[in-house]
């Protein structure tokens, strides 16, 4: 005996060698393993193969564990889920008596009115029918994910799967063989298991076969890709072909009393007696229609089980052991229960006469239902094949004469009849209305019965050809943690100054996939430094693209709507990028480097899109252009403010005066020993230098600028200060201040478009759009009243005459102007903007932009 015991609802249950949780519980006298979902009927062990929901218990706080396929271990804490006050004495069993008053669809019909009742009813229903509470505080990272590449993936390590794996390996394939359980672990001793062990030995000897047991196949996806899950791992198998040897379940027959504890499928009873040495009952009736059923009968008799009657086809009469009464071609009518809902007798029809046989267990083995869900969910052209019992086809459909069709969702044959009478007349819509096949077995037990019912009721079609409901992954229950194991959505980009910013105490936040400083302290001081002295900002996040090749000038001329082909070396210009529909995709600065190449910067979030657009148009126009995305290679620092030139000059011997490097100029200079491409830009509205430098030189350059800046009390500034600095200049953020269908005209950026050019991307659309009115404009607003912090106005609807006519996209209190300002899109009427606007409690008026230094004298300094 294996030392130890498991703890079951306050008592110790001894474990024997090879026990599952279910076998240990059953040996200890537990007969009610669970309560059904709605009617709270007792449910006992049934399939023994981990398909049906009957044996689901909570193990160590994890609900929904199928005890029949879970190895027992010392110290386990096992509880049954549903039941109030307990599963053994469940007062909510009264719902079974009320079943006629609670027909299928009861919840949807009853609680839909009044509307407020549903949330309350939902809570009550969830508590009453839920399948346990998920454990809290578990470490989700205990799951890992991995990918495997093989020539052939074989699902199922029974006889057919082992043989298929061997055949593939011997043909030279790399093979992955998977099974939800250890090979042969669920089979009772006997010739069949001996055969499996012999094949297993051969498989183990093949180096080309990787055996992945305890991994359940969840689904087949295009590729084909096969998803497997274990208790701690998700495996994605990329296979040249998939062989499904998933076997078959024993047929679930629907007849009155079919869900009583004491009704067993043959495999479960055979395992319990043959593998675990526990009799499924004291007086057992066996209904066996197949060779496998006869094997189960022999196993039971061989284990000393008192089989009082065996109902078999007449051809099998001679195979019935003499200790059991052989009944030829008997028809099973019903099972009847007694106290505690267990089987007390079975009623049969034998030679036209009904007969009742007292018993406490009924073992059924009437046919096989192929487990073919994985094949049915695969695209038809995928190399996926079924072998072994999984390839048996539909065969004889199960009977549906009463009882419960769907054990998981507690859907009875009567429920299906009623749904049918209400007009739900196909397997698919019966499924949706009754939720049959939607429970934890995913239709493995009841899918064929549902289809058979629908086929039988619809024009007497051949039941074997009944259409099945769609198969979808996962075909086995899987923890959400397993599915999330491979998912890490957030990708963090960092500039070379990331650690420097952290060391400076910067508050970092997300911006376009980058972690950027939003402020180093009080952002107002940072703002003031830029306006009054000098500020430094890390703009290494900007997209940076080198455009070279003999057609580089042609490309930029075609892609950007502005006049850029004539850009003189050492000059740069603001550019827009348009979609063919004329909508603004991004913006940036294009600089001419002097050797026929161009240096382009884009928004921080737009680098990849811009690069892709340039590549696309290079290809579409058939140009000879080389593109190099230098975003990762280069850092960039902005030095801005009235003292910027002095600061920079103290670290560089190169000429950076207004003549050598005017506004819009571009020049290669060396700053603090770091080679830089310096751009004179004006995003913040002050004299500014954008220093693009090798990434490795970033920390040194920054440190030297900070040190040299001490003389003028320069400050690093972050996104918070930038937000107001650029707002005062009226510069829109593409994305924040724009909508997907904004044209240059709507944004007031016509200056970046030269309609005199014969062709550029989006030109035809702009020409067409120009014939109509501009229905919406991005405008500058000046606010009166409203919140003290005008930033709160961002996102506010803009009203005029009682109507919503726009939305505030940016807002803030301008220290330079000493008033609240903002950008907003506003609808025009007859081409005119409304005069009196409101936003929240504030009144607003449209004013020209830039708000600050409209002549641009400061930035040209």
């Amino acid at each position: 005996m294996r030392p130890g015991s498991l703890r079951f609802e306050g008592r110790e249950i001894p474990i024997q060698d090879g026990d599952t949780v279910a076998s240990a519980m059953f040996r200890a006298g537990v007969r009610t393993f669970s309560r059904s979902l709605k009617s709270r009927r007792r449910r006992g062990l049934y399939c023994g193969t981990g398909e049906c929901p009957n044996c689901m218990v909570t193990v160590d706080g994890v609900p929904g564990v199928r005890s029949c396929v879970t190895d027992a271990a010392a110290g386990m804490r096992v509880e049954r889920g549903r039941g109030w006050p307990s599963a053994e004495h469940d007062l909510l069993h009264v719902t079974d008596l009320m079943h006629p008053l609670m027909p299928v669809g009861f919840y949807m019909k009853t609680f839909v009115r009044p509307r407020f009742a549903w949330p309350l009813a939902e809570r009550v229903i969830r508590r009453a029918t839920g399948s346990g509470r998920l454990p809290e505080g578990r470490d989700p990272s205990r799951f890992t994910a991995r990918h495997v590449h093989v020539d052939a993936a074989v699902v199922g390590a029974g006889g057919a799967g082992l043989a298929a794996a061997l055949e593939a390996a011997r043909a030279g394939d790399r093979v992955l063989l998977c099974d939800a359980f250890p090979i042969g672990s669920r089979m009772p001793p006997g010739p069949a298991l001996d055969g499996i062990r012999a094949l297993e030995a051969e498989v183990q000897a093949e180096r080309a076969i990787e055996i992945v047991d305890r991994h359940a196949a969840l689904g087949v996806y295009d590729g084909p890709t096969l998803a497997l899950a274990s208790d701690d791992e998700l495996v994605q198998v990329h296979a040249g072909r998939v062989v499904l040897a998933t076997g078959a379940t024993e047929t679930h027959e629907a007849f009155p009393g079919n869900d009583l504890p004491g009704v067993w499928l043959g495999r479960a009873a055979s395992q319990m007696a043959g593998l675990h040495g526990v009799h499924p009952g004291r007086r057992v009736v066996v209904v066996a229609s197949t060779e496998e059923g006869l094997d189960h009968l022999r196993t039971l008799v061989g284990a000393g089980v008192d089989v009082v009657a065996a109902v078999v086809p007449s051809a099998f009469l001679d195979d019935v052991p003499p200790t059991a009464e052989a009944i030829a071609d008997g028809e099973l009518i019903s099972a009847s229960g007694g106290g505690r809902g267990r089987v007390r007798s079975v009623t049969l029809r034998e030679r036209g006469e009904q007969r009742r046989i007292p018993c406490d267990a009924l073992v059924l083995s009437t046919g096989l239902a192929p487990r073919d869900e994985l094949a049915r969910m695969a695209s038809p052209d995928e190399p996926v094949e079924l072998v072994g019992d999984a390839a048996l086809g539909d065969g004889v459909a199960p009977g549906v004469s009463g009882g419960y069709v769907c054990l998981c969702e507690d859907v009875s044959a009567h429920d299906l009849e009623q749904a049918w009478s209400e007009g739900f007349r196909s397997a698919e819509i019966l499924k949706r209305y009754t939720t049959a096949t939607m429970g934890p077995c995913r239709g493995a037990m009841c899918g064929r019965a549902l289809a058979a019912f629908a086929a039988r009721r619809s024009e007497g079609r051949d039941r074997a050809a009944a259409p099945r409901t769609a198969a979808r992954p996962p075909v086995r229950p899987v923890a959400l943690e397993a599915l999330a194991a491979s998912v890490h959505e957030v990708i963090e980009k960092r500039t070379s100054l990331h650690d420097t910013h952290l060391a400076a105490g910067a508050r970092l936040g997300w911006s376009s996939g980058w972690k950027r400083p939003f402020a180093y302290g009080d952002w107002r001081e940072e703002y003031a430094a830029v306006r009054e002295r000098a500020g430094l900002m890390d703009v290494g996040t900007l997209g940076k693209i080198l455009i070279a090749g003999r057609d580089a000038a042609t490309l930029v001329d075609r892609v950007f709507p502005g006049r850029v082909a004539d850009l003189a070396p050492g000059r740069s210009r603001y550019v827009l990028a348009l979609y063919e529909a004329g909508y603004v995709a991004d913006d940036g600065i294009l600089g001419a480097l002097g050797d026929g190449t161009f240096f382009l910067t884009s928004t921080s979030g737009g680098a990849e899109r811009m690069d892709a657009r340039l590549r696309e148009w290079t290809f579409r126009l058939g140009l000879h252009v080389h593109l190099l995305d230098r975003t990762s290679e280069l850092g960039a620092i902005v030095v801005a403010g009235p003292d910027a030139r002095d600061l920079l000059g103290s670290l560089s011997d190169d000429a950076i005066d207004a003549a050598a490097l005017p506004h819009g100029g571009l020049r290669e200079i060396t700053v603090a020993g770091v080679p830089c491409t310096a751009l004179r830009t004006g995003f913040v509205g002050e004299l500014a230098f954008e220093l693009h430098h090798p990434r490795s030189g970033g920390p040194r350059l920054w440190a030297e600028l900070i040190r040299a800046g001490e003389r003028v009390d320069a400050r690093p500034f972050g996104m918070d200060a930038l937000e107001l600095l650029r707002l005062e200049k009226g510069h829109p953020y593409i994305g924040q201040d724009t909508l997907p269908d904004d044209t240059p005209a709507k944004l007031g950026l016509d200056r970046a478009v030269d309609m005199g050019k014969s062709w550029f991307v989006g030109r035809a659309a702009l020409e067409r759009l120009a014939r109509g009115p501009v229905g919406r404009r991005l405008v500058g607003l000046s606010f009166e009243g409203g919140p003290a912090d005008a930033a709160e106005l961002r996102g506010m609807p803009v009203g005029a005459g009682g109507e919503i006519v726009g939305r505030v996209t940016s807002a803030g209190r301008s220290p330079a102007l000493v008033r609240s300002i903002g950008l907003a899109w506003v609808r025009t009427r007859d081409g005119e903007l409304p005069a009196a606007l409101t936003a929240g409690d504030a009144t607003a008026s449209v004013v020209p932009t830039p708000f600050y230094d409209p002549e641009g004298a400061r930035l040209r300094g």
């Binding site: 980009k493 070379s496 080198l546 070279a548 990762s632 290679e633 280069l634």
Partner: protein, 140 residues
Amino acid sequence: MAELSTSAPTVTAVLASPDACERVSALPGACPISPGEVTIVGDASITALRQAVQRIDPDAVVRDVSDGWAMHTISGERARDAFARLSELELPASGSVQGAVARIGVRVLVEGDRVDLLVPSMLAAHLRERIQDECRELLS
């Protein structure tokens, strides 16, 4: 087990016409990226490369782009197992592939039990954290 180390490789970008790129795509450390682009990892003479490709494509661009890249190396007996946790790319016995590793575009160089991941510098810290997280019990 496997070991994770990070280095700053020498990387040269060659942008040229396809036939010019072919001339350098067989060099040691060469990763063909597209018909018009080859990345060469390791010491390479830019002058020699430029001469080789500009003979065919006078506009060809050959640049040292080392600052744009970092190299994470996973080596040891479990190196391939570790990689399988990060990417669905199928590794050759030796050579290079490119694709998503932890959802990041990476150029991968393989030689036996050594897997070099060439990653853009801006994403290097993130990828290293992902490797350490996903492969923690495989790394020594």
